[in-house]
């Protein structure tokens, strides 16, 4: 098979489609390009990820837009093009795999090669069985093999047809980490040789960081952010992304003072009871009085039982312990310092500092541990450096 040139095999999709979930009606409205390689589609369930894949595969019809791979148009509302599923050459591995239960592993893999002469079909399927390390299962029925093996069969069955795009809908969700990473290695190796765009849907944060060359973060049918996983998750500028990225502390904030010279902002965080606290954060392009959100990871905050001095950290805030809870091998301490912050410490730290409800403590937060984001908007935000 000739390897398609990367420029020629990019998936471009501009899709608008109204769709219904049991809870509500909403609009899928996305516009993106996925170059050859892995693109992670990340978002909570009901954010439109599966509908997006269904539109690319042809199982759902967009109300408007265009979907193309390179210069091959799969769907174009304007010129009334809507290729049937079977002509799209889109590989789609569904979450529950949908292996044919009445066919053997080898027959499953050969299924998509019906157009080839028998000898060529056998040869191609055998090579793919070998590549995905399942040749010893060739005579087995899908119900007689393990979950990881079934996953390999499903991938082999799709890839043997040389699709121009591969869609994976949380394909590895049910597998243990070891099995998962072995399968991903094989898949990556395959794609290194073939170079097609792979859209990989997940809601697992670790998969995003481990896998993705690029990530699209979806919410409510829209793409909130796109870029490399680090750009999107490490420095989230959108509240939804922040929650996905694991910020335990998220506060409304107002820009109080801008220190251009120091490269920082002073933000005013307002608590429920009208009390407030001032926090020094990195400088972003904002005006005094602008409404923002600040996210701080609970593990990025230090606790001290007396006021520390001689630290580089700019935020040293007094507070009182509201609760101390054990979670597995970690302690979650909630501290009222004008706003209520969650702080994670070790069991040993709790014991040596004798942390207890009512205790007076100091919170130490580095300027760059304060992540600023736009407030609750649904406007799309692209990071510098992401297409």
């Amino acid at each position: 098979m000739p390897t398609p040139s990367p420029a020629n095999s990019t998936l471009t999709a501009c899709i608008r489609k109204n769709f219904r979930t049991p809870e509500r009606n909403f609009l899928l409205d996305v516009d993106f390009a996925a170059a050859p390689g892995f693109t992670i589609v990340f978002g909570a369930s009901g954010s439109g990820k599966t509908t997006l894949l269904d539109c690319v595969a042809g199982m759902a019809v967009p109300d408007a837009g265009r979907i193309a791979v390179g210069d091959r148009t799969l769907f174009d509302e304007a010129s009334r093009i809507n290729l049937p599923i079977s002509n799209r050459s889109v590989g789609y591995v569904l979450q529950d795999l949908a292996l044919f239960p009445h066919l053997s592993v080898a027959q499953n893999v050969e299924y998509g090669l019906a157009h080839l002469p028998r000898a060529e079909r056998k040869k191609k399927a055998a090579a793919m069985l070998q590549e995905f390390r399942i040749e010893h299962l060739r005579q087995q029925r899908p119900d007689k093999i393990s979950g990881g093996e079934r996953q390999r069969v499903a991938l082999a069955r799709s890839l043997v047809t040389d699709p121009c795009v591969l869609l994976l809908d949380e394909p590895l969700a049910a597998l243990d980490a070891g099995t998962k990473s072995k399968i991903l290695d094989d898949l990556r190796r395959w794609n290194h040789d073939h170079g097609i765009p792979v859209l990989y849907v997940t809601h697992d944060r670790e998969e995003v960081l481990a896998l993705g060359e690029r990530v699209l973060v979806m919410e409510e049918g829209r793409i909130l952010a796109q870029g490399t996983p680090h750009e999107v998750l490490r420095a989230p500028r959108q509240e939804t992304v922040a929650q996905l990225a694991g910020f335990e502390n998220i506060f409304d904030a107002t820009v109080h003072f801008i220190h251009e010279d120091r490269g920082t902002l002073t933000c005013r965080l307002t608590g429920d009871s009208g009390k407030f606290v001032l926090l020094e954060t990195p400088l972003i392009h904002a005006e005094a009085g602008a409404q923002l959100r600040v996210g701080i990871r609970a593990g990025d905050i230090l606790l001290a039982i007396s006021k520390p001095s001689g630290l580089s950290a700019r935020n040293i805030i007094p507070g009182r312990i509201v609760s101390v809870e054990r979670r597995d091998m970690m302690i979650s301490v909630r501290v009222d310092c004008g706003v209520e912050m969650e702080v994670h410490v070790t069991l040993a730290a709790r014991d040596s500092l004798r942390l207890a409800v009512g205790g007076e403590v100091w919170l130490v937060i580095k300027t760059h541990s304060c992540h600023l984001m736009r407030k609750g908007s649904s406007s799309q935000f692209s990071f510098p450096g992401s297409q």
């Binding site: 595969a57 042809g58 199982m59 049937p84 599923i85 079977s86 002509n87 799209r88 050459s89 889109v90 590989g91 789609y92 569904l94 529950d96 949908a98 292996l99 044919f100 239960p101 009445h102 299924y111 998509g112 019906a114 157009h115 029925r141 119900d143 007689k144 093999i145 393990s146 069955r157 799709s158 047809t161």
Partner: protein, 230 residues
Amino acid sequence: MLIDWQAFLLTIELAVIVSAILFVIGLPLAYWIAFSRLRWKFLVEALVALPIVLPPTVLGFYVLVALGSQSPLGRWWQSLTGHTLAFTFTGLVIGSVLYSLPFAVQPFAASFASVDRKLLAASATLGASPMRTFFRVVMPLSAPGLVTGVVLTFAHTMGEFGVVLMIGGNIPGVTRTVSIGIYDQVQASNYASANAMALLLLVFCFAVLAIVYALNRRAAQKAWTMGPAR
């Protein structure tokens, strides 16, 4: 003669032909019922189910009228062959096909509908046309339902009475089936003969059903019953 073998063979012939015809026309009809999303599908479903609730005499009467020399169909057939369809074996086949339609189509449609739609989607993404998907995925996974439909059609046709009487009458070697023959013998107070034929029909039908269901069960187990993981 205790047993009217001619009537017996005629009945089997009728049942085989009707089963074969209903298999061929039942598949596309059932496929349409199982997969169509048209709003007025329910009307077709109701029409197909009608012979279950309709008295055979009502169905037989209207088929007789439709086949008779007063109807366009009957006139067309008469101009083609020189005789009417009523009181012929062909007429009997037509009436029986209509009468047994739900017994084929309903099991077919139910088993098509129970095939996991994701398998159909997967087949399409692998480049298979709907036709290929039907023969390679839908049909094999519906095998028990297909067998059930054919067997029910066969058994139902073997035992039909009212429609045959209305359309075919009682012409030996042409339209006299076993059930008509039994009725005939009872009318003539020839109970020994009636009993022999009734018993034969009973045993034959039971044997056919038992064999087919046994084979069907074996095939189903072989094809896809979930076995324990190795």
